[in-house]
Amino acid sequence: MSQEIAVVGSPEFTTGFRLAGVRRFENVPDDEKDERLDDAATAALEDEGVGIVVMHDDDLEYLSRSVRQEVETSVEPVVVTIGSGTGGGGLRDQIKRAIGIDLMDEDEQE
């Protein structure tokens, strides 16, 4: 089954992806993120036609704890975060928990 890519974030963030042909997007203006971003992210995650959800790293801060955890651990669809951070904050914690060492930190130090 073919799926699509969805983008969730501010209109400035989503416009570029729409220029590349992405048609599933959730525009949430910066001043409404506290109220609406949770619902927008949940809607994208629950859409069966979506295989990848793209979000900005900074937007994760606006999500409630449960939605953020869902975003960080979701596999179908997988959420890719891009932006200021190195990405995969939740992934880093998961690595620490599963392996017992902060492998990402070690690699960064090298």
Binding site: S2, E4, F17, L19, A20, G21, Q94, A98
Partner: protein
């Protein structure tokens, strides 16, 4: 708990079988955990490279769209974005790494030629084309990152589960089984000692009884002899005369 087990030979044999199975399972799971960690290390290296490329592509794409916005205006960029006809699609196939099913994502219609994009060439500028192209490259990187990160998440879950199973066997199940085995062995030994002691006691009692019987018999014989001797003594002087 050891106190819940009945100290019988049958239970001891059952526990020994369970210990053997658990030890074998523990060894196998440890090997699986180590194998998964090694595979994960390879994927992690790949993920770090992909993340680096992704950050670079995002930066380039942002620069280009900002340039397009500055030169053409936000309305023109949004207008072009709304006109897109071709939409990128992804299809997922699966690959098995040590029992973990990880996806292989195939993408189609991500990179498009100018005429496939759908917005008019006349009404837009090269800045918008460049931005669109940069975002198409970014999407390619995102798809690759999604593939690698999904594989990482799935492998991490499997590593965590396997680790938990190994720990449960090592620190919970096996110590309990060893404790039960020791308890039953001690109880059986104790029973054996009690049995030997009891047999010894019975033997001693029997021997004492037999001895007493023999002594009684001997005493009876002696008494009979003593009774018989005066009679013969009384008869002998008469015979001498």
């Amino acid at each position: 708990m050891a106190n819940d087990v009945k100290p019988t030979r049958k239970n001891l044999m059952a526990i020994e079988d369970r210990i053997e199975l658990s030890e074998r399972g523990h060894g196998t799971l440890e090997k699986k955990r180590d194998g998964l960690i090694m595979e994960f290390m390879d994927i992690l290296d790949k993920a770090q490279d992909v993340r680096g490329d992704l950050a670079q592509d995002y930066e380039d794409a942002q620069k280009k769209i900002n340039m397009a916005r500055a030169m053409e205006g936000d309305v023109a960029v949004r207008g072009a974005a709304s006109a897109l006809q071709e939409h990128p699609e992804i299809t997922t196939e699966s690959k098995n790494i040590m029992g973990v099913v990880v996806p292989q994502i195939e993408s189609s219609r991500v990179s498009k030629s100018l005429d496939q994009r759908g917005y008019g060439i006349m009404g837009t500028s090269a800045r918008i084309d460049e931005a669109a192209e940069a975002y198409e490259d970014l999407l390619e990187s995102i798809i690759l990152a999604a593939e690698v990160e999904t594989a990482m998440k799935k492998m991490l879950r499997e590593i965590e589960t396997t680790k938990r199973r190994v720990n449960a066997l090592e620190f919970k199940l096996l110590p309990e089984l060893y404790e039960n085995q020791e308890y039953i062995e001690q109880k059986l030994e104790e029973q054996e000692r009690e049995e030997t002691f009891r047999l010894k006691k019975i033997k001693e009692k029997k021997e004492a009884e037999e001895k007493a019987e023999r002594e009684a018999e001997r005493a009876a014989e002696e008494a009979a002899l003593e009774d018989a001797q005066p009679e013969t003594a009384a008869q002998s002087p008469a015979a001498n005369q």
